[in-house]
Amino acid sequence: MTEGVLIHKKTETGKSAGEMEEVTLIPKKAIDIKLEADVITPDSFAGKSAAEIGMLSVWQGPKTYPLSDFFEVVGKAGSSAAETLIRIKGDAMRIKRIGEGMSAGKIEIEGSAGMHVGTGMKGGEIVVYGDADSWAGMEMLGGLLHIKGNAGDHVGCAYRGKWHGMKGGRIVIEGSARHQLGGGMDGGEILVEGNVEGFCGIRQNGGLIVVNGRALRGVGAEMAGGTIVIGGKIERFSPGFEYVSMENKVTSGEIELIGDFKKFTGDYAISKRAKGALYVSINANPEL
């Protein structure tokens, strides 16, 4: 959507950082087996001192260790999740499940984040300054997950075997994402500045996916509802979609997008009653 204009009518941000107490986690050493660090949330840090936070345990392989084995903990948490900011000073690519299920507050990761960052988060905000590994925002319910770099596979997707992914909240990716972005998505929004690969919006039931760049193939495969907007070229267009109309505006919930689009509906490959809406940039896809 090279000419598209994205208008956010509403932006969700928690309290400004000024009103928050800050906890800084400074990585101490290189991590070999990836950590299962679902304790790194404002919810579990709230009301705790640096020493108490350091005592929280994380799984590494078959064993648990105190968080302080891996991080120097500085500062202290606010009295509630909403008043707690967690700053990870450095790279967290080998740390999984940061911010899992968090309800409020903020996490800033000054490097890259490992798999499952923001999985099932309900509220608050996570900012990843680097890249995010696969499953970012898996089955997310609310809040804002902002990835300044690229993201891996399965962003906002359903867990393996499940049919329902992200239900609410917003994921913003300034770079590109890989396969199956928004798989099984029921609600919420995913905005990608760059490109996506295969099966973006597979089995989508609701919500909005906006990709400014290109998509590889399988866009909206098996989708039954919701909206996908692709601003760049789709390499191989899904066969189960039917052309509806030319549009110069897409509206979904609080969001409005201006540009020149062809609107399709589907995916009729699975259900005759499918209600998915797929908007494709006219300029980038002259053959459609």
Binding site: A158, Y159, R160, G161, K162, W163
Partner: protein, 584 residues
């Protein structure tokens, strides 16, 4: 001495001995219930103070899907069932995962935490017996056994068509000891064979493809064989046309077939003392009745047909049922009834697994969610409870969820509380779709079962029905020392306070197995050995030889060799054959 314990001052509910909440002590020595312990034994034995609490025999589940190929298919096709339900390893217990289909370890711990000590696997396909035994062997704490699926077996259908009842009986006897299984299960008789050709069977007198036998002939034949052999339990029937609007009619007609067949349980066992006659007096055990009780013609006009069937059962004495309740929420539907599962697939579009078990049977598995907002699911909830509340004699009913079909066994506490508390039922009526009330009779039922009734539905009757009363289901002298202590004071029991009942049933205060305390407040504290029961059925050597000649001849159609067919005893933990005398 191991397995020696005194459980003092509890209110005891032991229906097989007609003990109804009497305050008394229970003594167990060497794993068996005894009259008393000597003063010297008392000094060294463990003592549980059960003052103000309810004491019952250990829970017995006579119909649950807990082991074998289709259960494992359910586990492997549902990673999403596992990632949120998991159990940490401790110094004593294994790790585990799974909500509707837990791993074997978690399954054993979860049952024991609720006070259950004996669980029978509801369907063992002969070819999958080895796998089933491997899983039963690995399931901790629970005494187990399995029912052999025989309702669509090539050999039996051929014998029944030809009227060769003697060979048919010899075949069943041989199959029981070959696969180390316990009783006869009959799933959608004649229909599952048709499913191999993409079809089903819809009436009792319709012949199936190639074998040209009818459901009626199979039910009649298997019931007669069951009694000829003197099997411990009645024919375990999963009736035809399951899960279809209008299926209640064929269910009722199926129950009429064994009417008049004389029961003859012929086991060579040592019987625990019971006041009631412990021998079996039912010729048919209908399973998950709810799923077979829909009236109406489509899902739009369907309603409960339970009352029609319960009216029949109330007037006859040869039928016992388990309910197959649906307590709402996640379930994994799995059955040997392949076509029924395909119909659910067509309805929901969920991921679906289907298996043809060569010359014997088949199965299907599909995830399912029962929603309070859904009219049919709400009706099913009401129908399941109707099955238990509209049959007057509790000795004709058994509480199950057909786990994990109606919901996982960990939802039993909800079902137990619904049948004991009208207030809890009213609460659920207010939360679910109005079809539950409008299309069933449950709203007008104010019956509330007592703790005594509950002990019948969850231990005494399952044990009596399947012929395990010689050691399970009672606290009579000689019975296995399996005891559940619930933190419920019967003197202050208030059915309106259903939250308290739910809490008490979810985590038994104590679960005692063979005289050892295995769980305290839901926490596993010891892991004594368990047993696997099977029927060693005897028939005349000559007859067995004749029958085996047929079997060997047809065996070339199997994908395995005859020598590899049997399950050796080493696959069983503490194999415990029950001598069934058959025609000797």
């Amino acid at each position: 001495m191991a397995g020696t314990i005194a459980i003092k001052n509890g209110y005891v509910f032991d229906p097989l001995n007609e003990i109804n909440g009497e305050k008394m002590d229970i003594f167990i020595r060497g794993g068996k219930v005894v009259k008393e312990l000597s003063a010297a034994e008392m000094k060294t034995s463990k003592v549980i103070d059960a003052s103000g609490m309810t004491v019952m025999p250990g829970g017995v589940d006579s119909h649950s899907h807990v082991a074998g190929a289709k259960v494992n298919a359910g586990r492997s096709m549902r990673p999403e069932d596992h990632y949120k339900a998991n159990l940490k390893k401790t110094a004593l217990t294994h790790s585990g995962s799974g909500y509707t289909v837990p791993s074997v370890y978690k399954q054993g711990y979860d049952y024991a935490a609720m006070g259950y000590t004996t669980v029978f696997e509801a369907a063992v396909p002969p070819l999958e017996a080895r796998h089933t035994h491997e899983e039963m062997c690995a399931t901790p704490l629970l005494d187990m056994g399995g029912y052999l699926v025989l309702g669509n077996n090539f050999f039996l259908m051929r014998y029944l068509r030809n009227g060769d009842m003697e060979k048919a009986a010899a075949y069943v006897a041989w199959m029981m000891k070959t696969h180390k299984t316990y009783g006869i299960k009959c799933v959608n008789p004649a229909g599952v064979e048709n499913w191999a050709w993409g079809k089903n069977i819809h009436s009792l007198d319709e012949t199936n493809i190639h074998f040209e036998v009818t459901p009626r002939e199979i039910i009649k034949g298997l019931t007669e064989i069951n009694e000829t052999l003197g099997m411990p339990m009645p024919l375990h029937l999963h009736a035809n046309n399951l899960g279809h609007p209008g299926c209640y009619a064929i269910t009722k007609d199926s129950l009429k077939i064994p009417d008049g067949v004389k029961t003859k349980q012929n086991m060579d066992v040592e019987w625990a003392e019971t006041k009631m006659d412990p021998s079996r007096d039912r010729s048919v055990y209908l399973t998950h009745m709810m799923f077979n009780s829909f009236a109406g013609t489509t899902w739009a006009d369907c309603e409960s047909g339970v009352k029609d069937i319960t009216d029949y059962i109330n007037n006859r004495d040869h039928v016992v049922i388990d309910s197959g309740c649906t307590p709402f929420g996640e379930a994994t539907v799995m059955t040997g009834d392949g076509p029924a599962i395909h119909d659910i697939y067509a309805l929901t579009g969920n991921k679906w697994s289907n298996t043809d078990v060569e010359m014997e049977c088949g199965s299907g598995v599909i995830p399912f969610t029962y929603l309070k907002s859904n009219p049919v699911h709400s009706l099913q909830w009401a129908m399941g409870l109707e099955c238990l509340l509209l049959i007057n004699d509790p000795w004709k009913t058994i509480m199950t969820t057909d786990s994990p079909n109606g919901g996982p066994f960990t939802k039993y506490p909800e079902v137990m509380t619904w049948i004991m508390s009208e207030a809890f039922r009213k609460q659920t009526f207010s939360e679910c779709h109005k079809w539950a009330n409008d299309r069933s009779a449950l709203g007008g039922v104010n019956r509330e079962l007592s703790l005594y009734d509950l002990a019948i539905l969850t231990r005494a009757n399952p044990a009596k029905t399947i012929g395990m009363v010689h050691r399970k289901g009672s606290l009579g002298v000689g019975a296995d020392g399996d005891v559940t202590v619930y933190n419920i004071n019967p003197q202050q029991l208030d059915a309106n306070n259903y939250e308290a009942l739910l809490r008490a049933f979810r985590k038994a205060e104590y679960t005692v197995k063979g005289g050892e305390i295995v769980a305290v407040k839901g926490e596993i504290v010891s892991l004594p050995e368990k047993r696997t029961y099977y029927s060693e059925v005897h028939v005349e050597n000559e007859r067995e030889k004749e029958m085996l000649a047929d079997v060997k001849e047809w065996f070339r159609y199997y994908t395995l060799g005859f020598a590899n067919y049997p399950t050796p005893e080493k696959y069983l933990e503490n194999p415990t054959p029950i001598q069934v005398n058959g025609e000797r």
